[in-house]
Symmetry: C2
Subunit: 108 residues, 2 copies
Amino acid sequence: MAKQTSSRSRSVRGSRTGRPIMALLDLLGRRWALRILWELRDAPLTSRGLRTACDEASPTVLQARLSELREAGFVELGEAGGYGLTALGRELCETFMPLHRFAERWKR
Amino acid sequence: MAKQTSSRSRSVRGSRTGRPIMALLDLLGRRWALRILWELRDAPLTSRGLRTACDEASPTVLQARLSELREAGFVELGEAGGYGLTALGRELCETFMPLHRFAERWKR
DNA sequence: TCTCTTGCTACATTTACTGTAGCAACATGC
DNA sequence: GCATGTTGCTACAGTAAATGTAGCAAGAGA
């Protein structure tokens, strides 16, 4: 539907050390990235639904993160509309699912 | 050694929804937060050592993140100097250790 | 056609991070 | 006792990223 920020370029320092974990930590360490994956964890959401789920975060960042996550192969836009996790994305999501239990025990 | 930004206040939207997971995702979704935990994963580092490990990220953010992570109880400053993970922090770190394996398979 | 929802963008304002410099406190060596 | 080097940490100007509000084009349904 549009041409989206020819990403590829912008990357926080340390992303290109050759170690994939760094690139991943960098990608996931951007605002709303983790949250987006989390909100999509068990069902696809429309862009607007996602925005609501993410506490009305601004569409600008959401869109930016979605593009990055799509480029990374974690999220996809179904032809019927709505964002959902790819198989890879679902896998990723499951690797940090234990965070939920951890957070509950942590409480603050 | 100093008094540090009386944090407490600043929090990305969605942190106070009552759901601890949101607060956690918020905290970990700030720049360098995940990276810091990762770099401390198996040994304490001095502030300078950490900076080096983090690709010379600016001390300003590093210090800010460290304060937040300390306040959250994940990181501590040993009296002998040097930052290390608390028991809780080590536990947290282990919950997203599988990311490493995932990242290797992902590669980009 | 009018209405509603979809994905997505523009843009001015505010907030966060970067980069560089440097401080006070404490060691170590000389 | 006085350089030298380290620690944790801060200041601050400049730049990049996020927020908030508005709104667009395209498609679906009535």
